[in-house]
Symmetry: none
């Protein structure tokens, strides 16, 4: 079967599809088929429930074997997004998180524009049964929610991937002028800055109590996640933190 060759549709081009703790190998196979229908071939599995590779995935892939063969397994979502500069998370449920929310269509248009300016992009999908948890969402810049039947909103995993892939594929029909902009910061650089910031503000009493800290820290991270920062921005912000720490209450 020529699966491997014909799978090479958009090498390095389309967004990475990241399945977090997927439970059913059949759904991983169906996801690979949906991806290849839409010209996507970069699949990452984070802590799949069963050992990978899993033979039950292949029949559901209907020939999208190359996508499965090249799938990468990671031990944490943080690792899976480390080399990306923009991360979307697909979830049906509205969250208490102060996050940016887009429809799949709006997100797809934005993804194309970001890719044309050099960004590497990923979309995260949660486990079949539970979806994404708030702690998973801190790795995402933007939440994507399908504006479908609010009374029955839970999509099959491969359907959700297909929805993103379909809109991404269609959004590629026209290419606008690239914006003049520095390349976006990588997730690993952003995480290092946020770790430093969180430790520094903790030392300054920003988190009133230890109980409040997880929520306040998450909101602080989300604020910077969705700010669309470039690598230069984050270097500037490091300088800001250093300067404030040096200023020593002289305000």
């Amino acid at each position: 079967m020529a699966g491997t060759d014909r799978s090479r549709v958009s090498p390095g081009g389309g967004p990475r599809i990241i399945l977090l703790r997927p439970q059913m190998a059949e759904n991983i196979g169906a996801t690979a088929r949906a991806m290849l229908n839409c010209g996507l071939d970069d699949l990452t599995l984070v802590n799949p429930r069963d050992p990978w590779p899993d033979a039950r995935a292949w029949p559901m892939a209907s020939g999208a074997n190359g996508v499965l063969e090249r799938a990468v397994v990671r031990g944490s979502l943080r690792d899976a997004v480390a080399d990306l500069s923009r991360v979307y998370a697909m979830t049906a449920r509205p969250r208490e998180l102060r996050a940016r929310v887009l429809s799949p269509r709006a997100a797809a248009a934005e993804m194309r524009a970001a890719q044309w300016s050099g960004a590497r992009i990923g979309v995260v999908f949660g486990p079949e049964r539970s979806g994404l948890a708030n702690d998973d969402l801190v790795h995402a810049d933007t939440i994507v929610t399908a504006p479908l039947n609010p009374g029955f909103a839970s999509l099959n995993l491969a359907q959700a991937v297909f929805l993103i892939g379909y809109e991404w594929y269609l959004a590629g029909a026209e290419r606008p002028d690239p914006p003049v902009c520095d390349p976006p910061v990588s997730k690993v650089e952003l995480a290092a800055f946020l770790d430093r910031l969180e430790a520094a503000v903790a030392a300054g009493g920003f988190f009133k109590t230890e109980e409040l800290r997880p929520t306040m820290a998450r909101n602080l991270r989300v604020l910077f996640q969705r700010a669309g920062l470039t690598g230069q921005d984050v270097r500037t912000l490091h300088g800001v933190v250093s300067a404030l720490l040096t200023a020593q209450g002289r305000e």
Copy 2:
């Protein structure tokens, strides 16, 4: 389970989904789920391979039980479309038939317009393995083809139904839900924060020289200007600055 009640989303409203000679009961179940995700509940099966009802469909429906319970079985496509005034057929393959071909999006817009003028509409989907035959297509006014990866165009049955349902659902949305987000910060509040920040980092030696200050200050302001901050974000950032000034170089 309240499946029966919550399934009644668009009684008589959405297009009828007609599966011609479906082979796998699991796909019928997945179709029901996809339909209800998109507010559709009128399902007809024409000559299913296995006797209907088939218990294997229910787990894949994930609660869209009402759609399955009300599914109608017909002995011919002609019977299945008899009371309709407009019939679409979804197929991935270009045909020798002289037929009108639309994308799912264009077809959905047309369906909505036709329904608003009183038409009863159906969409036909072929068997999993072979798709629709030319003899089946004579019952259709219009062919619908998804403009996806031409090298790997065969969609899973429930995916194909989902694609039509999704576009149909969106075509009827007069107005999308507003994004879940706090209101953006006012310019005067943002300017006050930026003035405070600039003064504080200046005290900490952020601006190496007075010559560099105008450019560096402008870049710092632009960074926060384009971050899309809300009023709550700016209150959070005031807290961050206060905490860093309190931390007094304890990093």
